[in-house]
């Protein structure tokens, strides 16, 4: 008996249905139900009227933006150095930068918290940002490094040939051409930082609550419907930012990026 080639995809379809589509549908259903299972907008409305929820959400966005900015400022130069044939001749350095990703993020976060503890650093926003930048930096470096690495060297040579100093080459050619990697990196860092809760829990001792934290708290205390509504709101917001990324991808073109 021969199996049609198109039927090879069936296991993956089943997987997607069970682990991606179904949970999303469930979240959507729960978000629009009250405790008794009646349809309601109450949960969504509650978020937009609750000052606490809104301020947590604002703080989450603020922390995510700050973390993304820190990662970008640290990550771009690192990626540039890694991709430059003159400054870095070894593939090992690239792996060293990516290596932390091989260790579970939770373990790294716990270890970081322990280090702060040992050195007597007060946990707070500073330690939170430090931990986030530490966790997410590779996600910024890698897509940018990838784009820079694949960039045709003749572009920078053409710019030099036309009279651009090294600084001008970077500003007018390298930077604009690496934008797909930058947007990709921003998404890779921004999206998970909005929703994270573990890092804020360990590195601020729950002093700072992020959006992810309140979702987790609601779910943990069996407030499924409100938790689902919050999750849905976050999903929509992340979805919107992804759309911006797509637009940039078209404007910038050139291959690269991680997603």
């Amino acid at each position: 008996m021969t199996i049609k080639r198109s039927s090879w995809s069936i296991p993956y379809l089943i997987f997607l249905l069970i682990f991606v589509v179904l949970p999303l549908v469930l979240i959507a259903i729960y978000a629009f139900q009250d405790g008794e299972g009646n349809f309601t907008f109450e949960n969504i409305a509650r978020f937009f009227t609750d000052a606490d929820s809104l301020s947590t959400f604002a703080l989450s966005l603020e922390v995510a933006i700050e973390n993304t900015a820190i990662c970008l400022l640290l990550g771009y130069p690192a990626a540039y150095i890694l991709a430059s044939k003159d400054l870095n001749r070894s593939a090992v350095t690239v792996i060293l930068f990516i290596l932390p990703m091989w260790i579970n993020a939770l373990m790294r976060t716990l270890a970081t918290a322990e280090l702060f503890n040992v050195f007597g650093v007060t946990l707070g926003k500073g330690t939170l940002l430090f931990g986030m930048a530490y966790d997410y930096l590779p996600f910024m470096i890698y897509p940018i490094y990838n784009t820079l690495n694949k960039m045709d060297k003749s572009y920078t040579e053409a710019a030099q040939d036309l009279g651009a100093t090294p600084g001008q080459v970077f500003r007018k050619v390298t930077l604009p051409l690496s934008m797909p990697g930058v947007t990709s990196g921003i998404m890779m860092v921004f999206m998970p930082t909005v929703s994270t809760f573990a890092i804020s829990e360990f590195l601020t001792n729950n002093k700072i609550k992020l959006f992810g934290t309140i979702i987790q708290e609601n779910i943990n205390s069996s407030m499924w419907n409100y938790g689902a509504a919050l999750a849905l709101i976050m999903l929509v917001i992340i979805g919107i930012t992804t759309l911006f990324n797509d637009d940039d991808e078209h404007a910038g073109k050139a291959e690269g990026g991680l997603i």
Binding site: S154, E157, Q160, D161, L162, G163, T165
Partner: protein, 463 residues
Amino acid sequence: MTDKDVIIRLENVSKSFGGKKVLDNISLDIKKGEFLTLLGPSGCGKTTTLRLISGFTTPDSGTVYMDGKDISGMPPYKRTLNTVFQRYALFPHLDVYDNIAFGLKLAKVPEKEIEQRVRKVLKMVSMTDYEDRDVESLSGGQQQRVAIARALVNQPKVLLLDEPLSALDHKMRQDMQIELKEMHQKLGITFIYVTHDQEEALTLSDTIVVMNEGKIQQIGTPADIYNEPVNSFVADFIGESNILNGTMIEDRKVNFIGHDFECVDEGFGTNNPVDVVIRPEDIYIMSHTEGAQFSGTVKSCTFKGVHYEMFVDSDSGYELMIQDYNAFEPGSKVGMLIKPSDIQVMRKERVCNTLEGVMTDENHVDLLGGEFECMPLAGAEAGDEVVAKVDFQDIELLDHQEEGTLAGEVYVILYKGDHYHLTVLTENGDHLYVDTQDIWDKGDLVGISIKPSAIKLSKRNDN
């Protein structure tokens, strides 16, 4: 130090990459306003030479001068020359106008003037009305024009072109050749052009520099290079040719394919081995043998559009390529004539392989990294440095690399009328020259073996 006419001068320039010598002591003068082509097979050093001039590479030794000033270490952005890159390298994030205006904006040229100059140069490359187009939406030929416009708008003294037409199809390439030639005449600036296409070089250039293996083989006008190649490499690389072994009997008399011919060359000594080049269109072919210098039988005849290309076996056993407007039936008996002035005699670069080696014991010698059995050399002991001479025909090539004392790769094939003259690249990058009747292809991997009696040793200190 400079003549007024010379705009770029390379003086004893050498360059190595990773231990491999890419340019070997090159000297070259490029005159103001000329169309100079660097021609050679891939890896001959022509692109490196261009990059030395544009400033993307610096010489290991030697000097690059422009207008009499040493510019060897000057970064590219300070040099008043512009390059058209092989794959154009148009900035994908800028439109046609901004690509062309790139250099002018950097030079802080007023906006008004930029606009005028961009329009003017677009008109010159027949790309008016394309200002706002996305460069990636353009065809290869259009991108090419934009790349040329982007370089020319800066009014460089020298325009460098790195195989600019290699990505275009045949028809497009011919059109662009004519346009480039016209542009050169109109602008009056120096063009330095890199190509591996000999036809392109002959069509475009005022001066051709033929390069091979990091060395300049010949510099001359297209006619010089075609009619009077200085060695068999140039003769083989430029156009079709019959390259034959000959003997210079005396001045104005050379023997090849078993016959004596009158020629116009002098000063090669007497009874010296030489290479003889005859272009296929320079052999007169006729259906009768009386009055002919030699005779033969037509082996094949192919129509080539304007002329017929025939392979003729001479009665003395050599195969010759002949081009003629008349066709001769395969199998027919023909007579042939060659005018003295059409016989090009060239000194042989070498008459045998000369290798440096070390004796490993009494009857073994280490040559090119392989240990060969040899006849004992009187007074030579293990460790002595020796020179080995091996005739071309004494090197045996084997089908499998492991069967030979050395492994190699067939690198260049030259047909010499009755045998092939091969250049074999050994594993260490050395060259061995081999005469053989067998047919090999370029890139074939071969084993190399030499009979002990064929290795003629002498002590290194002797000479």
